[in-house]
Symmetry: C2
Subunit: 233 residues, 2 copies
DNA sequence: GTCTATACAGTGATAGAC
DNA sequence: GTCTATCACTGTATAGAC
């Protein structure tokens, strides 16, 4: 694996300072170093000292800019989650009933899942580690993790929830919500790729192959969403 | 549960009386204290010093008996997972096609999910914290977590995988495996109860209500399992 | 405002005496 | 087997330099 270029050398741009995207302020260098190291070595195995050394800044810079290690994590996550949420909404806007295209429900499922599966593994955004980071946060009960996920994804998720309720008018809203919850479960668990199913099936089923996972997941979920509502109580 | 009555005669020590279930050896006291504290305060917030103080043993005792904090976690998890795996297999043995009972697939799903949802929250086994611990381990990519889960659940899971393949003979084995993977995702994510869906739906959908979750989950999964297989490539 | 050097209280782990 | 003392290391906080 090649190291990401942290400092972008002078390209033609005439505004060298404060490039928001890939700036070389110490704040941005910390973010880049953290993304790189988390991707390379995992999450818990990377301490603040490793990050600050990689970024070429002082240890205290992390606390100055982000308040805490958790704050750094939050900033990093938010930055990486943004393109996913945006892509989701863009794809949602392109969903329409049309001959030759899959049913609307399948379109919605793909629009929701595809950005998470593809953008999630882009090296520029921290690579596969980010996907696992998401999965880990999803398993967290603490307030911080919840807040991070909510801020990053709730508005786009809510839009999808509404769209799905619209596509399934015969289903009570609460039922759609439960099923959306189950959808999140399959997505997050697949992204976590904890190796359980590989061990169980001796490798014949590999959730690390996200393209195939998507192809298997969408029909499975679509059938679940379309099933008759469960008795309520 | 009865333990063997055989006591070696003429031993120097008088009646060692190691009760395996709720013994007061230092090893068992550590396990009990850890289960209690993890349930009470969460996982990361509890240090070895708190555990050893609660158990009334020395700090080094943990490393002596379990090798490391991870080793303690593993022992604890294994002890708590065992009744779940056993209950699953027992319920699996009671599944049969019979008039007046749900279809076999639904029976299998319930036999698999019910022990995880009910035994998982029993206070005697560490309470709700154990459920979250499971969810957290499932999101872990590290070798240790994988090994723990495999040792605890793989044999019973494999039996269910086989049973489901048998109930769905028209489905390729790989397809059943993928769907079993999705089943695990919905289960773990529901058990994690990270608060996401509550926030999204303003509380109208609460996965903390595991009984209702089960009633919503089984039809959803059954429909997914029964859907036509996806194209393979 | 930004950044640095340094100190601090906490962790899990371990060697060796008893 | 058990305990004391200590180790290396963590995230955090602060005082002060530019």
């Amino acid at each position: 694996m090649s190291r990401p270029q942290i400092v972008s050398a002078g390209e033609g741009r005439a505004a060298p300072e404060k490039d928001v995207e890939s700036g070389n302020s110490s704040r941005d260098r910390i973010l880049a170093a953290a993304a790189w190291l988390f991707a390379e070595r995992g999450l818990a195995a990377v301490g603040l000292r490793a990050i600050t050394a990689e970024a070429g800044v002082n240890l205290a810079a992390v606390n100055y800019h982000f308040g805490s290690k958790e704050g750094l994590l939050e900033a990093l996550f938010e930055r990486q989650a943004k393109p996913i949420a945006e892509a989701r909404l863009r794809l949602l806007g392109e969903c329409r009933e049309e001959p030759g295209r899959p049913p609307l429900l399948e379109q919605l499922l793909e629009a929701f899942l595809l950005p998470a599966f593809t953008l999630g593994v882009e090296p520029a955004l921290g690579g596969a580690a980010f996907v696992r980071l998401r999965a880990r946060l999803a398993a967290e009960t603490e307030e911080m993790a919840r807040r991070i996920l909510v801020r990053a994804f709730d508005d786009s998720s809510l839009r999808f929830l509404d769209a799905m309720a619209e596509v399934l008018p015969e289903l009570p809203r609460a039922e759609v919500e439960w099923r959306f919850h189950f959808l999140l479960g399959t997505m997050v668990y697949t992204m976590a790729n904890n190796g359980r199913i590989q061990a169980l099936t001796k490798g014949s089923c590999d959730p690390g192959d996200l393209e195939q996972a998507l192809r298997k997941l969408i029909p499975f979920l679509a059938a679940g969403f379309r099933s008759a509502p469960a008795p309520d109580a």
